[in-house]
């Protein structure tokens, strides 16, 4: 760590956080000219993506050490530091964020009300997410953690569906309750560490050396888990997600499912597990069981939905159950699979949300009862829908399978029963996804509806996603390579 | 003759409670104000008694200040009473209940 700080280097990580912030500000300043705002948001997202891509290309291989590390004193009274750090996992999440953000901006192109605010919020959200994935000081982490909520709250509550206000409040308060527990745990850990070593700091790497009694560790761990598991989301604390995802505007759903959900799991990986190794070890079996419960519960509930957006929301929960299961297995392959699955789930489910919003734009409904026969009317749209649905149900050769099979292979070596039960979930996934496809694509076409096929802009959103889905499906190596070192490191409980 | 300190305190306490009771039980703004005056006087009494007990002047100074404050307060209060009477033609405290909840 220290040797990284000694080298003055270009603050790439700060750039990742600041660029969207600046973009957001500029958007607000141009509130009278919506067209400029769109261009501005797109330019900013492109710039962020370019930076992320550059970092990805430069640091595609990781030996587990920090790829980049920035450390500045911030609030000295409390020993709070501005520490941004990136390892292979963060790199992947940053890349995903930048990529999804591009899609979100393009998707939001046709937003008509309060364009500048919409894009400003979208960019603010990106800044918050980047911060979450990069922060290595707990207070900084918490700050970004909460900051990311606000834009999402307004995106839902202003631009959302019919039930938007209730959904937005539920989303915010639910996650807030969890994160408050985390705040308390952060402060308590800080005090314990300070009292022990005399050094008051919030930097995760330093706090890892705290000597905790079993009880202390358990309580603190519980505080962190409250935040991360609500965000993940863990059954039974998941109902905020289904409502929020259902009501959010298209770009909001995309970011929510593709990125914001991942922050919870990322928090587990980056914060909770390394800080409390013993409590983690004790909790892992419970976590695995909870993940399985979530996986099945959500899959079942998804099967019952009529609103396709809600169905997808449940499918997200189910998939994340598998991700958490992989983590709970505490095994290299499973972890790498989990992280890969996070990325691929972001892309596939994100794309499905895009498609749902396109369908909604065209038909005015999201109810499966009223949809159907889309294949005959908008074949390209329908093809994309089918492709991403298949990816989502874990068809080999498409992206999700790569992650899923790694999770299962890894998990089986530690907990065969978990893996077997999780595999049953695969049938469930097929059941609800096929029901979705059947309800939307097949059946007789509604003659009275005129459905234009994909436009240029929509191709621009979906095509890169489709290419990625196939690419990761058959050649995930570039996305796995940065993980090897970092994951091995985290599993060994060492400092990067 | 020296009145025992305890007696003075007890008397003042009774006076204070009486004043408070007046404040609580009467509905008339003026009567409530009178109740407050009684409470303040009880305080004055304690100050004077304590001043004597501790052989200091601090308490007496305080009680003089208290009188001044009371006077200022009464002045404002009476102006308010007049103003309210002009507006609403009532001096029952509970009639002023336009805001609640």
């Amino acid at each position: 760590m220290s040797m990284m700080t000694s080298l003055p280097q270009f603050p790439w990580l700060s750039l990742l956080v600041l660029l969207p912030l600046v973009g957001a500000l500029l958007c607000l300043l141009h509130s009278k000219r919506p067209a400029d705002c769109r261009a501005l948001a797109l330019a900013t997202s492109l710039a962020v993506f370019a930076v992320a891509l550059y970092l990805f290309v430069c640091h595609g291989q990781s030996d587990g050490r920090w790829l980049l590390y920035e450390d500045v004193a911030w609030i000295e009274r409390y020993g709070i530091r501005y520490v941004l750090a990136m390892d292979g996992i963060a790199l992947l999440m940053v890349l995903l964020t930048a990529f999804m953000q591009l899609a979100a901006v393009l998707l939001a192109w046709r937003v008509e009300r309060h364009v500048s605010s919409f894009f400003a919020l979208l960019l603010l959200l990106e800044a918050g997410l980047m911060g979450i994935f990069l922060a290595y000081d707990l207070v900084l982490f918490y700050l970004f953690w909460e900051v990311a909520l606000i834009p999402m709250f307004f995106l839902i509550s202003v631009w959302g569906g019919a039930n938007r206000r209730q959904a937005a409040l539920k989303f915010f308060l639910y996650t807030l309750v969890g994160s408050f527990f985390m705040l308390i745990a952060i402060i308590a850990l800080y005090q314990i560490h300070g009292a022990q070593s005399g050094v008051y700091t919030f930097v995760i790497g330093d706090l890892m050396q705290t000597q905790l009694t079993a009880a202390q560790e358990g309580w603190l761990f519980a505080g962190f888990m409250a935040a991360f598991l609500v965000k993940s989301p863990l059954v039974p604390f998941h109902t905020w997600l289904t409502d929020a995802l259902t009501e959010a505007p298209a770009a909001g759903s995309l970011d929510l499912t593709g990125l914001l959900l991942k922050t919870g799991i990322y928090g587990l990986i980056r914060v909770a597990f390394p800080l409390f190794p013993n409590a983690t070890e004790n909790f892992l079996p419970v976590l695995g069981v909870l993940a399985l419960v979530g996986l099945f519960h959500a899959a079942w509930a998804a099967y019952h939905q009529d609103d396709i957006k809600r169905l997808l929301a449940y499918s997200s929960i189910s998939h994340l159950g598998l991700v958490v299961l992989g983590l709970a297995a505490w095994q290299l392959t499973a972890w790498e699979g989990s992280i890969l699955l996070m990325v691929t789930h972001g892309i596939t489910t994100g794309a499905l949300f895009v498609l749902v919003s396109l369908i909604r734009e065209r038909t005015g409904t999201r109810s499966m009862q009223e949809l159907g026969g889309l294949w005959g009317q908008a074949p390209c749209l329908a093809f994309m829908f089918l492709l991403f649905s298949l990816a989502s149900l874990g068809l080999p050769g498409l992206a999700n399978f790569a992650g899923e099979i790694l999770v299962l292979l890894g998990t089986f070596q530690q907990h065969p029963v978990w893996a077997v039960v999780a595999l049953l979930g695969v049938v469930f996934a097929a059941a609800y996804m096929l029901r979705l496809v059947q309800g939307v694509l097949w059946g007789s076409t509604h003659k009275e509806r005129v459905l234009p096929d994909l436009t240029m802009r929509e191709w621009l959103i979906l095509l890169p996603m489709a290419i990625l889905v196939v690419w990761i499906g058959i050649y995930p190596e570039p996305f796995l390579a940065p993980l090897h070192g970092s994951v091995a490191n985290l599993l060994a409980g060492g400092l990067p | 003759m020296m009145i025992p300190f305890g007696h003075a305190l007890a008397f003042a306490a009774v006076l204070f409670v009486l004043g408070l009771t007046c404040v609580l039980l009467r509905r008339q703004i003026l009567m409530i104000l009178i109740g407050v005056e009684i409470m303040l006087n009880a305080a004055s009494l304690v100050f004077v008694a304590a001043s004597a007990y501790w052989q200091q002047v601090d308490g007496q100074i305080f009680s003089i200040m208290l009188m001044a404050i009371t006077a200022a307060e009464v002045a404002v209060a009476l102006a308010m009473v007049v103003y309210l009477w002009r507006r609403k033609r009532t001096l029952i405290a509970d009639d002023f209940n336009g805001m609640r909840g």
Binding site: K170, P236, T239, T242, H297, A298, W300, A301, Y303, H304, Q305, T333, E336, G337, G372, G373, P379, F383, L390, P396, G397, A402, I405, L406, L408, G410, F412, Q413, P416, V420, L423, V426, V427, A430, A431, L434, R435, Q438, L441, W442, G443, S444, T445, I474, Y475, P476, E477, L480, H484 | L20, L24, R27, I32, A93, D94, N97, G98, M99, R100, G101
Partner: protein
């Protein structure tokens, strides 16, 4: 030649599928059709060209790393060996013929690009199964064929029943896939590799319990794809797809993938006698179950579907009896004659004016081209196992293997096999009579048959009839070519005295004749079908669908409703709204205290004062205690 070129075999169909998928509708129809046929035909030609690679130990080719994480290191690799080569040849060959047939069959269909790209994609996926070097590539193909089957069954998606049949097929086979998946995970956990040849090599060092468990899991996986009990309900409904699809996927290739899988992992599976017994039992039960069902079906394609199930049951029995060569032999001949039967059935349906019900056919011998009857009959005699046909030899080999199995229990399976053969002969000729004999009973107007639907039947008819030559048993002077080709992969060598063999042949001939005779008696002259409990029971496939519905579907949907409405809506959201209501209830209670009346406000002073005094007294009492 570079062995990587072997990848051209599966990739050619894939390439053409992708081209058709992306550009098929934009380019002339002829282009799509030619693309589709070229994709498969070139794979066939390549297989022939590369045949030499399969000899000996076969050839392994690696394209690139697929998944690499920790101990997992899986590549896109294929293994072109003696087991894979004939299968590849059969798949590509039959597929080429069926593609040609499909060009004719689909000539009025608008959505041809989707059809052909899916069909090509299917061939790719099937070849992936056949050629897979490791379990994961096999799984890729395994799921891929499922997907294509799904897409093609529901090809005419505007009728929701078709789409539903596709969904059902996908789901039921996916249940099987789960077991295959578990087996895959388990094998990886035990052997540390996913390479099939390495797993087979290490098989002997795996503990017998694990071998048994994995074998049973593999069996269940195979059951799903091959429509064996208990995962057989989807196949009959799958007939909703276009006929070329039924011919290719649901007769010749995909449904035999399960058999192929068991043969592939035979060195592992054969280590567990119990598993072998289970395989035989499943095969036997399915064979007789499906044969009984086939006897009562009214739709021509459903008859053939049940017969497929039944014949695949034979193949399972062969594997269970330990003869890979026998299983593969029957697989090949069955592929030829069943594809032939399906394709002919497509012609028949055309002629009957899109009528499926055999009771509304009849007299078709004179309505269509003359050769059609003979071709169908060629397929039928193969299926019925009339002597000297391909089906006769392959089926007889299996029965022989069962009969000569050292374990006496197998005699029971042999008996079942014999009874099934009788039933098979019966329903086959029932079909022939009902379709071709007598007068035309339907009302449909015949469509013309394009040339492309007629001539691909000939090669198949020849292959079916002469299929016995591939593995002609020694006692009739044959060279057992297939058995020798497989050599060490062929499993148990079936040896029996000539007397036994002749006796069995005699029995088989007798049985076939008996079946024919029974059908002849019953159906030569048309009689209206009888409706009774037994026929209904058989018509509905022993009510298996209803049973599945009761046992699995309904509890599943009930659970879904419970999770969604019961848990999420009522319990979780309900708790939340109770909490919210409580908070706002407390809030309004508290704001009610703000009455707006001064006296209320003033009284808070008194209350505060009283509380203070009370607390104070308490404190004093407490303090007095010290």
């Amino acid at each position: 030649m570079n062995e990587s070129l072997l990848f051209l075999i599966p990739l050619m169909p894939l390439f053409c599928a992708v081209i058709n998928m992306l550009f098929g509708m934009r380019l002339p129809r002829l282009f799509a059709e030619v693309m589709a046929v070229i994709g498969v035909a070139s794979a066939f030609v390549l297989t022939v060209l590369f045949w030499g690679y399969a000899e000996g130990e076969g050839t392994r080719a690696v394209l690139f790393t697929w998944l690499n994480s920790g101990t997992v290191d899986v590549s896109f690799a294929l293994n072109f060996d003696r087991l894979a080569a004939p299968m590849t040849l059969m798949v590509t060959g039959v597929a080429t013929l069926i593609h040609l047939y499909a060009v004719g069959y689909m000539h009025k269909e608008d959505d041809y690009a989707r059809f052909f790209s899916l069909l090509n994609l299917f061939v790719f996926a099937m070849l992936a199964i056949v050629l897979a070097d490791n379990m994961l590539v096999l799984f890729l193909g395994w799921e891929g064929v499922g997907l294509c089957s799904y897409g093609l069954i529901g090809f005419w998606y505007r009728k929701l029943e078709n789409a539903k049949a596709g969904t059902k097929a996908f789901l039921v086979t996916r249940v099987g896939d789960v077991f295959l998946g578990i087996a895959l995970l388990w094998l990886f956990a035990v052997t540390g590799t996913l390479s099939i040849s390495e797993i087979n090599a290490q098989a002997t060092s795996i503990s017998s319990g694990v071998v048994l468990a994995v074998s049973l899991l593999l069996l269940l996986g195979a059951c799903g794809k091959s429509a064996q009990l208990p995962l057989m309900t989807w196949l009959a409904d799958a007939m909703a797809g276009p006929t070329p699809v039924s011919a290719l996927i649901h007769a010749a290739t995909m449904v035999t993938a399960g058999v192929y899988l068991l043969c592939r992992l035979f060195p592992l599976v054969s280590l567990s006698p119990v598993a072998m017994m289970a395989i035989t039992a499943i095969g036997a039960l399915t064979a007789i179950y499906a044969a009984t069902c086939a006897m009562a079906q009214r739709e021509i394609k459903r008859v053939l579907a049940y017969s497929t199930m039944s014949q695949v049951g034979y193949m399972f029995m062969a594997v269970g009896a330990g003869t890979v060569a026998g299983a593969m032999f029957h697989l090949l001949t069955h592929a030829f004659f069943k594809a032939l039967l399906f394709m002919t059935a497509g012609c028949i349906i055309h002629l009957a004016g899109d009528e499926n019900d055999i009771f509304k056919m009849g007299g078709l011998r004179r309505r269509g081209p003359v050769e059609l009857f003979w071709i169908f009959l060629a397929g039928a005699v193969c299926l019925a196992g009339l002597p000297l046909t391909g089906g006769f030899f392959s089926k007889d080999g299996i029965l022989l293997a069962l009969f000569t199995h050292p374990d006496p229990t197998y005699k029971i399976f042999w008996l079942i096999g014999v009874v099934t053969a009788l039933l098979t002969a019966f329903y086959t000729f029932r079909l022939v009579y009902l379709v071709f004999a007598g007068e035309y009973r339907g009302t449909g107007h015949p469509h013309s048959l394009p040339l492309l639907m007629r001539w691909p039947l000939w090669p198949l008819a020849l292959l079916g009839l002469l299929g016995g030559l591939f593995n002609l048993p020694a006692f009739v002077g044959g060279g057992e070519t297939l058995h020798h080709w497989y050599d060490d992969l062929a499993g148990r060598a079936v040896t029996a005295s000539h007397e036994v063999e002749w006796m069995l042949v005699g029995l088989a001939v007798a049985i076939a004749a008996l079946g024919w005779f029974a059908a002849h008696r019953r159906y030569r002259i048309y009689q209206a079908p009888t409706e009774n409990a037994v026929t209904r029971f058989l018509l509905n496939g022993w009510y298996a669908d209803a049973l599945v519905d009761r046992l699995f579907v309904r509890p599943f949907t009930a659970m879904a409703r419970f999770c969604s409405s019961g848990c999420d809506r009522s319990l979780f959201d309900g708790t939340l709204s109770i909490l919210a209501k409580m908070a706002s209830g407390w809030g309004s209670l508290l704001t009610q205290m703000t009455t707006g009346r001064l006296t209320t406000y003033l009284s808070t002073f008194a209350w505060g004062f009283l509380i203070l005094l009370g607390w104070f007294l308490l404190k004093l009492v407490d303090g007095g205690g010290h």
